[in-house]
């Protein structure tokens, strides 16, 4: 996603994910690593019971997310619209069964089939109208309502996505709620622009469940409005800024990095300690 424009703006998914693009999902180790991390986290959020389950993978692509499912002994079916991506998945000999289908046209399965559904970086594609007869709102509703039906009661659907703006996010969540889902958003590392990841965590009926805890939000003060008097704020800033390279300055910097989910060395008594003066 770092390369400027968003893929959704370039071409419809079945054309954007052509052979060249699909090939990246077998050769580009960075892309593979990111996809694997995202799918591991999505499966963690699914909170599946300890026995083997039957899972739907929406926008399975080359089957990277499916492999994580296979590793945990689950059986899965993968849907994707791009023939090139599916071809790569068959070449990789993934365990799951594959289906070429457009999620905006509905999920073609009997009611109550799946114990859970995951989707990695796919749902935001539905916000685009790639053909003249496409209505994003209708397609989203069709997708969520048929997905709701195909899930067993009490099952979860976890979708990692890259919404372009808050309007898109609202459109997606609104249609999901309209289709009957409960649940909400889990946002990992909300303080970082790069590590921030948005998961839509949906529950299909059953007992009321609590949303899982997001990563990297330990001491973010949510739902609180800080007291903002101008003079007070100026004083705070003046007092709070520690001199550069001081121990406090280093600790603050490390804390900031931790909040963004980046790596840094643990705090010890040696952190920021002055070196001995050897002449």
């Amino acid at each position: 996603m770092a390369s400027g424009r968003r893929p959704e703006h370039r071409a419809p998914p079945e054309i954007f994910y052509n052979e060249d693009e699909a090939r990246k999902y077998t050769s580009n180790t960075r892309m593979i690593e990111i996809q694997e991390q995202l799918s591991e986290r999505a499966i963690e959020l699914l909170a599946l019971p300890d026995h083997p389950c039957f899972i739907l993978d929406i926008g399975c692509g080359s089957g990277l997310s499916g492999e994580s499912l296979t590793n945990q002994d689950h059986t899965w079916i993968g849907l994707d619209i791009s023939p090139s991506m599916l071809e790569v998945a068959t070449e990789r000999e993934v365990e799951g069964d594959l289906l070429q289908s457009d999620m905006g046209q509905g999920i073609p399965f009997r009611p109550g089939t799946f114990d859970g559904a995951i989707s990695v970086s796919a749902v935001q594609w539905l916000c685009n109208a790639d053909k003249k007869y496409h209505h994003p709102q209708k397609r989203l509703y069709k997708f969520f309502s048929t997905l709701y039906a195909s899930l067993a009661r009490g099952a979860r659907a976890v979708m990692q996505m890259y919404p372009e703006n808050s309007e898109q996010l609202e459109l997606i969540t609104q249609q999901a709620m309209k289709a009957g889902f409960s649940g909400g958003l889990v946002i990992d590392f909300p303080n970082s622009t790069k590590a921030k990841k948005i998961f839509l965590c949906l529950f299909a009926g059953g007992t009321t469940q609590e949303l899982p805890q997001a990563l990297g939000t330990e001491d973010s003060r949510q739902g609180q409005i800080s007291y903002t008097d101008k003079r007070e704020r100026v004083r705070q800033i003046r007092n709070s800024k520690a001199p550069k390279k001081s121990r406090q300055w280093i600790m603050e910097k490390k804390e900031r990095r931790r909040k963004q989910g980046r790596s840094c060395r643990p705090d010890t008594k040696f952190t920021g300690r002055k070196r001995p003066n050897s002449f």
Binding site: F54, P108, F109
Partner: protein, 124 residues
């Protein structure tokens, strides 16, 4: 496409189709693929499966292998039966052929083992 997928698949996403189940299979190439036997998964899936549809589908492909037409009440302890079910559900794969909607006769082609469920503009 495995018969497990076929057992769950419907064509009710087509406009005007109510049930769209079960889809008929006309296969020109069927292959057998080895899959690890997981008795717990099979036991858990059996209540979800429409047994009659599975039996008919397996028979139409010629891979029923004396799979009973009726589901026995005490299947959980019957390893032999679970193995047979495993074979039919997960190891028989339709590579080439068509899935046919029972209401509209619409054909969904299967190529390289992947059914194409994409609809046209007028079918949505």
């Amino acid at each position: 496409m495995k018969l497990l997928t076929h057992n769950m698949l419907t064509s009710n996403i087509i406009k005007g189709v109510k049930n769209g189940y079960p889809l008929k299979i006309s296969a020109s190439d069927v292959q057998l693929i080895d899959v690890d036997f997981n008795p717990e998964f099979i036991t858990r899936m059996i209540p979800k499966i429409n047994w009659k549809v599975l039996h008919e589908a397996a028979q139409s492909l010629g891979h029923a292998n004396d799979l009973p037409a009726e589901l026995n009440a005490e299947y959980e302890a019957d390893q032999e039966f679970l193995k047979k079910t495993h074979h039919v559900l997960l190891e028989v794969e339709v590579q080439e052929g068509d899935l046919i909607c029972p209401e509209t006769e619409r054909k969904f082609p299967i190529s390289h083992g992947i059914p194409n469920m994409l609809l046209k503009e007028e079918e949505i």
